[in-house]
């Protein structure tokens, strides 16, 4: 499955999120590829889900995929608790 992580510049927090989401997915036995992009490039990107800070996620409400909003990007537990249910659901749906 594919994730797009989003931040204002596609350069700082989105990269941190991408690394963290991939590490968490791998820990649970899922393979997630993806890219980190800026808000302007994120709209309409093809992916299974998006992850962004709460601030940025609010701007992505028009997306067709689920957008996971993270408040504390350094809190691995928050990221894991919010992202894993989405990953599991997508894996079930895709039969992957």
């Amino acid at each position: 499955m594919r994730v797009v992580t989003v931040c204002g510049m596609g350069f700082g927090t989105s990269l941190m999120l991408l690394m963290e989401v991939q590490a968490i997915a791998q820990k649970h036995g899922f393979s997630v590829d993806g890219e980190a992009v800026d808000l302007g490039s994120a709209k309409g990107k093809t992916c299974d889900f998006m992850v962004a800070s709460g601030e940025i996620a609010a701007e992505l409400s028009g997306e067709s995929v689920e957008v996971v909003a993270i408040d504390n990007l350094l809190d691995k537990q928050e990221i894991e608790a919010k992202v894993m249910p989405v990953i599991r659901r997508i894996a079930d749906t895709k039969g992957a």
């Binding site: 931040c7 204002g8 510049m9 596609g10 350069f11 700082g12 927090t13 990269l15 941190m16 690394m19 963290e20 808000l39 800070s53 709460g54 601030e55 940025i56 408040d71 504390n72 990007l73 350094l74 809190d75 691995k76």
Partner: protein, 143 residues
Amino acid sequence: MLPLSQEVVRLDAEAKTAEEAIRLAGSLLVEAGKAEAGYVDAMVNGFREIGPYIVLAPGIAIPHARPEHGVKEQCLSLVRLKEPVVFGHPANDPVRLVCAIGGVDNTGHIGMLQALASVLGDANKLQGIMEAATFSELQRAIQ
């Protein structure tokens, strides 16, 4: 290991606004010869236009712009404010630690971001940063 030298660290700095704090963190990179003055303006503009998303965790902001805005070499600065400043973030205000970052291409700074996240995400190390009285105490705290 974080690329922090004494010249890019300020402890108990004073700033009244988020913009002042960002400019201070950016000016350390400029004075160290790692970024151009325009990079600081780009960080401030990014904050004004896109908002306080750079406050990635309670009390911690990582202002940055993009490589093409004037980064000479991959860099990081750390400013610990004497008094916390409001950045306008709904969950993570006020900010006491401002780490300006710069990278020279899209992904070369991933290692630095990972190192930064692992230090700032470690409650003991973060406490060490918040309580360090001197640069050498800070260096010991983040090792």
